[in-house]
C-alpha cells in the first residue's frame, strides 16, 4: 500500500495492537501528528514528555502490553530519559518513538537535535535510528518484538523528519530476522531436577518471589507451588501481588524496609528459592552476609543476572512461564510430604514475624501514615491498583496496602523515580478503566509531575491522588534524622503550598484530611466518588519508616523502633 512514513508508523502501531499512545508534538513530528489527526489515532497529550513516558509505563505495568510514547526531537526526546531509565530498571516494555532532525541535518548541531541513540543506549534494550523509510516497518516490528519478549524493556526508535514525509510501498513484515536474538527462553530441564532434589533435602526452605513473577504472569503457578510445599514465602517490592497477602506463611516483602519476619527468614533458611529477581542492594542488605546459611536457587530469564550480585548454588535459566510449571509438576510427583515436613518451620517463621509486624503507634487526633494506608487498603476492593511515588509513602504503601494480585502495585523500584506516580496512575487507569486506581504520593514527589493533574482533568481520568503530606522530603529527612544529626538540609518543605488550590486550578477536586476521625467520616465518600480527586492528608513530619536495615548492615540488623 502506498503511503508516507507518518502513516506507516500509525499503521504499524495498529498492526501491533496499539490502541493508545501518549505523546507531545513538536517541530519534526508535525507530519506524524497530522496523520494522527486525520486517522483520529488516540493520543493522550500530557503536560510534559516525562509525564507521557511514565504514563506509557503505567499502562504497560498494569496490562503487560507494550506502552507507546511519542516525542519530538531534542528536548522532547531528552525529557523522556528519566522515564525510559525507570522502565528499563523495572523491566517494563515500552516503544519510544522520537522524531529526529532530517537526515541531512544530523550531526550538525541542528535546532532541537540530540543524539537519541547515544543517550538511550545504556537505558534501553535496543535502539534504532531510521533514516530510510523503507526500513521503518521492519524496525517497528522488531522494536515491539524485542520490547515484549524475553526480559521486557524499553526500545527507542528515532525517526528522521524526512522519513515521515517520504512515500513508499508499505508492507508490514510477518517474519523477524534477528540473528542475535530469538526472544525464546527455554532452559535445561535437568537444572530443575537439581532444585527438586535440593527441596527434598532442605529443612528450612523459603520462597522469594520477585518482579519476574509479575511480569511473566506466573503468580498462579507460584501459588500452586506454595500450596504444595507449605513453606514460608516472601517477595521483593517488585514482587508484591504475586503472593496473596493472606496466605499462611506469607511474611510480607523483604529488604531495607521489609518485614522483620521476611528478613529473619532469609537469614535463617537453609534453601532460598529466588524466583525472577535480581538481588538488588535494597533487598540483600550487606551482600556478603545475605542468607548465610542457605543454598541459593535462582530461577531467572536473564543470564546476566545470575551470579551478578549474589553467588548462587543452583540456577534455572529460562522464562518462568517455562520453568515454574515444570517445577510444580516435578514437586507434585515427589514422594516427599513437603507440607508436613515444612509445617513447623513455617509456623516458626510466622511466629518470628509476628513479634514485629508492620505497625504504627496511634496518637490521638493525628493521622498516622500507616493508619491512612491501612484504612484505604481496607476500603478498596481486591482489584484496586495501587500506584506509588518514591519515598517514605512508597514504603508505607508497600507495608500497609494489601496488594491482592499481580500488576496491582505499580512502583518505581529500581530507579526510585520521584514524579513517577501521577502519570503512571493515569496510564494505569486508562489501561484498566474498570479498576479503581489509587495513587499514594508525597508532598515532595507530587510536585515533580504535578502538571499531569491538568491531563487527568482534561481526559476525565478517575485517579484518586492521596498525598501523604508531611512538609518534608520524608525519606531524606529520615536519613538526616538518623545519620546526619538532624541536619534537615534542603529537605523541609514550605508550608505555603496548598494542594487543594493547585488541584482546583487544574480542574480536579481537592480535599484535605487533618484528623484521624476523618479517615472514618470523610475518606470513604471521597474515595468512592466519581472522578479524579486530590486528597491532601496531613501527617506528622517526624515519622520514620520502620523497620529499617541501615546501609551496609545485614538483614538481621534491623532498626525496629
Amino acid at each position: 500500500m502506498r503511503m508516507n512514513g507518518a502513516q506507516a508508523v500509525l499503521e504499524s502501531l495498529k498492526k501491533e495492537g496499539v490502541d493508545l499512545v501518549f505523546g507531545y508534538p513538536g517541530g519534526v513530528v508535525l507530519k506524524l501528528y497530522d496523520e494522527i489527526y486525520k486517522m483520529k489515532f488516540p493520543n493522550i497529550l500530557t503536560g510534559h514528555e516525562q509525564g507521557a513516558v511514565h504514563a506509557a509505563d503505567g499502562y504497560a505495568r498494569a496490562t503487560g502490553k507494550v506502552g507507546v510514547v511519542i516525542a519530538t526531537s531534542g528536548p522532547g526526546a531528552a525529557n523522556l530519559i528519566t522515564g525510559i531509565a525507570t522502565a528499563n530498571m523495572d523491566s517494563v516494555p515500552l516503544v519510544c518513538i522520537t522524531g529526529q532532525v532530517a537526515s541531512h541535518a544530523i550531526g550538525k548541531d541542528s535546532f532541537q537535535e540530540v543524539d537519541v541513540c547515544g543517550i538511550t543506549a545504556p537505558i534501553t534494550k535496543h535502539n534504532y535510528l531510521v533514516k530510510d523509510v523503507e526500513e521503518l516497518p521492519r524496525v517497528i516490528r522488531e522494536a515491539f518484538f524485542i520490547a515484549r519478549t524475553g526480559r521486557p524493556a524499553p526500545v527507542c526508535i528515532d525517526i528522521a523528519a524526512n522519513v515521515f514525509n517520504t512515500e513508499f510501498d508499505f508492507e508490514y513484515p510477518e517474519e523477524i530476522n534477528l540473528r542475535g536474538y530469538t526472544g525464546e527462553n527455554t532452559g535445561d530441564e535437568s537444572s530443575i531436577d537439581a532444585v527438586v532434589e535440593a527441596v527434598e533435602k532442605a529443612d528450612y526452605p523459603l520462597i522469594f518471589a520477585g518482579g519476574g513473577v509479575v511480569i511473566s504472569e506466573t503468580s498462579n503457578v507460584l501459588r500452586e507451588i506454595l500450596d504444595r510445599l507449605g513453606c514460608p514465602c516472601t517477595s521483593t517490592l517488585m514482587g508484591l501481588g504475586s503472593i496473596e497477602p493472606e496466605r499462611e506463611g506469607y511474611l510480607g516483602f523483604a529488604g531495607m524496609h521489609g518485614s522483620y519476619g521476611s528478613n529473619m527468614a532469609i537469614q535463617n533458611c537453609d534453601l532460598l528459592i529466588c524466583v525472577g529477581m535480581r538481588f538488588s542492594d535494597r533487598v540483600t542488605g550487606k551482600v556478603a552476609d545475605f542468607a548465610p546459611n542457605a543454598k541459593i536457587v535462582h530461577f531467572e530469564i536473564d543470564p546476566a543476572e545470575v551470579n551478578k550480585n549474589v553467588q548462587v548454588d543452583y540456577k534455572v535459566l529460562g522464562d518462568l512461564k517455562w520453568s515454574l510449571p515444570i517445577f510444580r509438576d516435578k514437586l507434585n510427583a515427589s514422594a516427599t510430604d513437603f507440607a508436613k515436613k515444612f509445617n513447623s518451620w513455617r509456623a516458626y517463621s510466622v511466629e518470628i514475624g509476628n513479634k514485629h509486624p508492620f505497625s504504627y503507634k496511634p496518637d490521638g487526633d493525628v493521622i498516622k501514615p500507616g493508619a491512612l494506608i491501612s484504612k484505604i487498603s481496607d476500603l478498596c476492593d481486591a482489584n484496586t491498583i495501587a500506584v506509588t511515588d518514591v519515598g517514605q509513602h512508597q514504603m508505607w504503601a508497600a507495608q500497609f496496602f494489601k496488594t491482592q494480585a499481580p500488576r496491582q502495585f505499580l512502583t518505581s523500584g529500581g530507579l526510585g523515580t520521584m514524579g513517577f506516580g501521577l502519570p503512571a496512575a493515569m496510564g494505569a487507569k486508562l489501561a484498566c478503566p474498570e479498576k479503581n486506581v489509587v495513587l499514594f504520593t508525597g508532598d515532595g514527589s507530587i510536585m515533580m509531575n504535578i502538571q499531569e493533574l491538568a491531563t487527568i482533568a482534561d481526559h476525565d481520568i478517575d485517579v484518586k491522588v492521596v498525598i501523604v503530606h508531611n512538609n518534608i522530603l520524608g525519606m531524606v529527612g529520615q536519613w538526616q534524622r538518623l545519620f546526619y544529626n538532624h541536619h534537615y538540609s534542603a529537605s523541609e518543605l514550605n508550608l505555603k503550598r496548598d494542594f487543594i488550590k493547585i488541584a482546583e486550578a487544574m480542574g480536579v477536586r481537592g480535599y484535605r484530611l487533618t484528623k484521624a476521625e476523618e479517615l472514618e467520616d470523610k475518606l470513604p465518600e471521597i474515595l468512592f466518588s466519581k472522578g479524579a480527586a486530590v486528597i491532601d492528608v496531613i501527617v506528622p513530619q517526624d515519622e520514620n519508616v520502620l523497620p529499617m536495615v541501615p546501609g551496609g548492615k545485614r538483614l538481621d540488623q534491623m532498626v525496629l523502633n
Binding site: A121, R179, N307
Partner: protein
C-alpha cells in the same frame, strides 16, 4: 588479573561498536584492547576484545552482558580454545646514521620490518603475539621512541571450525 581474548560477531550496522564499547565501560569492565573489522560475510562485523578480569565469574558477567545486546550474534572466548593470536605494532624511532645499524639488527632479531626511513627516523612494523610486541617495545625503549600505534590483538581458532559455528 587475567586476560582473555573474546571474538564477538555482531551485525554490521551503524552504532554497533558504540553499543559494545558503551556496555563494557558502563559495567566497569576493563578492556586492554578492542578492534573491529569486516569479515567473510558482508553483514557481519567481528569485534576482537581483550578483557582483563579479576575472576572467571567476572568474565562470565562480561560475556552475559555482551550477549544481551541485540546486535551481538556470537561470543567466543578464544583464550580457552586452541587459537592463534596476533597483533600489529608500528613504532617510530629517532634514528641517526650512527645508531641505524644497531636498530636494523634489533629489527632482524625480532623478524620485524623497517617500512619507512627518513633522515631523522625509521618506522618499524612487527606482527606477533602480545608478549613479542611487548618485548620489542622494551628493547627499543633504549632508543628514542617518537610514537607507537598498536592494533590490539585479534585471533582465529585453529582447525576447520570457525567462531560462528563454535
Amino acid at each position: 588479573m587475567q586476560k582473555f581474548l573474546l571474538a564477538v560477531l555482531v551485525d554490521n550496522k551503524p552504532g554497533v561498536l558504540t553499543h559494545v564499547a558503551g556496555l563494557i565501560s558502563r559495567r566497569a569492565f576493563n578492556i586492554e584492547s578492542i578492534s573491529a573489522g569486516y569479515t567473510e560475510e558482508p553483514s557481519v562485523t567481528r569485534i576482537n576484545i581483550v578483557v582483563s578480569v579479576e575472576s572467571e565469574n567476572e568474565l562470565d558477567q562480561v560475556v552475559n552482558q555482551l550477549g544481551k545486546l541485540i546486535d551481538v550474534i556470537k561470543i567466543v572466548n578464544l583464550s580457552k580454545a586452541p587459537s592463534i593470536e596476533r597483533e600489529l605494532v608500528m613504532i617510530k624511532i629517532k634514528a641517526s646514521k650512527e645508531n641505524r645499524a644497531d636498530l636494523v639488527s634489533v629489527v632482524d632479531i625480532f623478524r620485524a620490518k623497517i617500512v619507512d626511513v627518513t633522515s631523522e627516523n625509521v618506522i618499524i612494523e612487527l606482527t606477533g603475539n602480545q608478549q613479542k610486541i611487548d618485548a620489542i617495545c622494551e628493547v627499543l625503549s633504549d632508543y628514542e621512541i617518537v610514537e607507537i600505534a598498536r592494533t590490539g590483538a585479534i585471533a582465529l581458532s585453529r582447525g576447520p571450525i570457525p567462531v560462528k559455528k563454535m
